[in-house]
Symmetry: C2
Subunit: 430 residues, 2 copies
């Protein structure tokens, strides 16, 4: 197939008519599929059913140091859960970790909220400042951007590369503007690209010298053990250790959860940070709650046991997820590979594929898919304020549907991409 | 035994010597008991062990309307949990309820935090105001006061009566000062007195006309079903319904949890409020989290089934708790009843007994108990900023110790009360 850009008007019109017909045919099939979020599939969740009654089959509900997990106490989480989450995050010391509730997003929200109301290590609370800004690598995770938007924080996009955010730009912006108080990062198998930060990127983050003393890197290590290929597991440097080495121990808050390891909403989430940061966080946390759900922590520890247990479990997940990613990529390559109207990433882990259409086409592609029954993540969602300046990025979430559903949905998707691209190219002749 | 106030100096000195000797003897026994918090006992927690594997023995994890509780979704909580918590709170409609995580305290903290950063229904965020004040019925719950203190909110004590807070004072203060933005309430079996608000009190709250439009009643219905006596169960009016009737539907946020029904830290917590309030709260909540732990909600619903299941369960709890309250009250009556040096409440439910010593004695009594190995709630904790102006209130928490431990601890307590009271009376002769 020729690249669409090489077609003349006549050829494009002919193609458009043919694609429109195909699209109308697909519409009649009455699909109904929600691919908007990165949800684990039922097959994955069936693999961790042992968590449900792992506490029913034992007689004791005590931590390794004898605390009864059924009662109040242990604000920082049970010791064995701290160890498990530290290992998952690739952080050396369990002492750097607090295990919280079921949602790392909630820890991030609480962290921003605390910075707003109480400030960071003695600095002015952000809510008392005229202007607070955040750097936002784009495309990025929509729910990060929603948090900063909710608190009225101005978001400045920074382009992503395959090595991580454009660090020249991060260093320059953070270095000169003390209203810039933080940056959102998904350092491993990034949402939505599946990129992982290079060692150089991590080291440059660790050595960052922002103008604002209360600048914090919000390091959302969401996909730390979410590899798709046994033979191509990406590892990144431990940000806490690197910051410590760089004499910058307090600059980062790290987050993670088992939402896509055990159950979304029924897992455990954790925070890792320096001693000074943890002390400050615990001052708020001890007011906010008497403690998080230690029984659920115990469930996870008893079921997964240790990092080996986690890794073995994630290999089983990968067996389910890998064919889904491969199936989508195969169709994209076969159908769009030679047309010059799109690019996409080929992640080695994580939950998403990032797709780039011709400029000005993403919204229309998502709209066409929706009209034919397949809901994708809203176009623009991967950018601050939901505004993709080029209207070209689409986040694909292949994890939840069955392989059959996914095949049908991807066929529809490429059809919509072709159709909208042809319309776009035709508009130049108008 | 004569009232201590009738004793002359010689008699007091003689008594002091005798009590000091007893105290030194008790000290040698080397007690080690923490009675500082209202923790359920191990016997109680053993009664709800079925929660641990109730989800292991079934094949389905779906809500009544077919949502898979293992995956993301349902920010407001699962429908059956909303019904259960509404029934527990005595609120007519499950639509008024959001079921959240494991801690009602965290919902209260989040609520205050949201008022600080985002304001209430279009009013100025509290963090942008020069001064924000809260009314605090005293003695009250220390963790309420810690939240308002943490956010720099000025706390104004309001005396408690057996019918609830002094409503003349509440109406006057809230009515004239628009910096007063809220009040902390534990309307049923109050912490620490065990008082329950009369119908008149609830109605006056519902009809409150505060100067501040963004005034909110923080109605912590913590002990809604925590009766001690089958034959003397207190019921209070439903504040949501009363506010609605009074044309004041938005003035209250209600909170509750199963922390002392199922497991402290492993239970579920809920929020109830008007439609307008819930809409506003959900706007923040949808940014804060993708959803709370639906599996834990499902565990609770499957185990307790409905309000009858809850009530039957709480009767079993009462069988364990009643003898403990009775044992403490018996010793207090026998040992202190005629001495004119103390008063205390005789709760019909809840988790605490409120004890009033002679003025200026509470701190010293708690200190003496601690030196002999029994840790009580810190004196002053029941007042804002931890400062009891009369230094007379002590919160007794009889729920956690065994009956044997409790007997020993109460003996020590009355001994310390006597000793410190004698010292106080003697100081008048100095």
């Amino acid at each position: 197939m020729k690249a669409y850009g090489m077609l003349n008007k006549e050829e494009l019109l002919q193609l458009q008519a043919q694609l429109e017909k195909e699209y109308e045919d697909v519409k009649k099939k009455g699909f109904k599929l929600d691919m908007s979020r990165g949800k684990p599939s039922i097959l994955q969740m069936n693999m961790e059913m042992g968590i449900m009654d792992v506490l029913g089959s034992v007689a004791d509900y005590q931590t390794e140091d004898g605390i009864d997990c059924r009662n109040y106490g242990l604000l920082e989480g049970i010791p064995e859960a701290k160890k498990l989450m530290a290992a998952m995050m690739g952080t050396a010391s369990a002492d750097s970790v607090i295990v919280c509730g079921n949602s790392s997003l909630a820890i991030m929200y609480d962290s921003v909220s605390r910075c707003m109301t109480h400030g960071v290590l003695g600095n002015t609370p952000w809510c008392k400042l005229d202007k607070v800004k955040f750097l936002c690598p784009v495309p990025g995770y929509d729910r990060h951007f929603k948090i900063t938007e909710h608190f009225g924080i101005e978001m400045i996009p920074v382009p992503m590369t395959e090595e991580g955010p454009d660090m020249d730009m991060v260093e320059e912006l953070a270095g000169k503007d003390d209203a810039i108080k933080g940056i959102w990062c998904v350092p491993k198998y990034s949402n939505p690209q599946g990129y992982s930060y290079s060692d150089e990127t991590v080291k440059r983050f660790a050595a960052l010298k922002p103008a604002a003393k209360d600048f914090r890197i919000f390091w959302d290590n969401a996909y730390a053990i979410h590899h798709l290929y046994d033979e191509a597991q990406v590892e990144i440097l431990d940000i806490l250790a690197e910051c410590e080495k760089a004499g910058n121990p307090d600059i980062v808050y790290e987050f993670a959860s088992t939402s896509k390891v055990s159950f979304p909403g029924g897992g455990v989430a954790a925070l890792a940070a320096s001693k000074a940061n943890l002390e400050e966080i615990l001052k708020s946390m001890t007011v906010q709650t008497i403690g998080y759900d230690k029984l659920n922590m115990l469930r996870h520890v008893r079921f997964f046991k240790d990092i080996n247990g986690l890794n073995e479990h994630m290999k089983k997940h990968a067996q389910v997820l890998r064919p889904k990613f491969k199936a989508v990529l195969k169709v994209l390559n076969a159908e769009l590979g030679s047309l010059g109207i799109a690019k996409w990433t080929e992640p080695k882990g994580g939950y998403f594929i990032s797709f780039e259409s011709l400029d000005g086409c993403a919204k229309e592609i998502v709209k066409r898919c929706k009209e034919a029954g397949v809901v994708l993540t809203g176009a623009g969602a991967t950018f601050p304020y939901g505004k993709d300046p080029k209207d070209s990025n689409i986040r694909l979430a292949p994890t939840f549907p069955t392989l059959e559903e996914l095949a049908a949905a991807t066929d529809l998707f490429v059809l919509c991409v072709k159709l909208v691209s042809v319309e776009k190219l035709l508009s130049k002749f108008a």
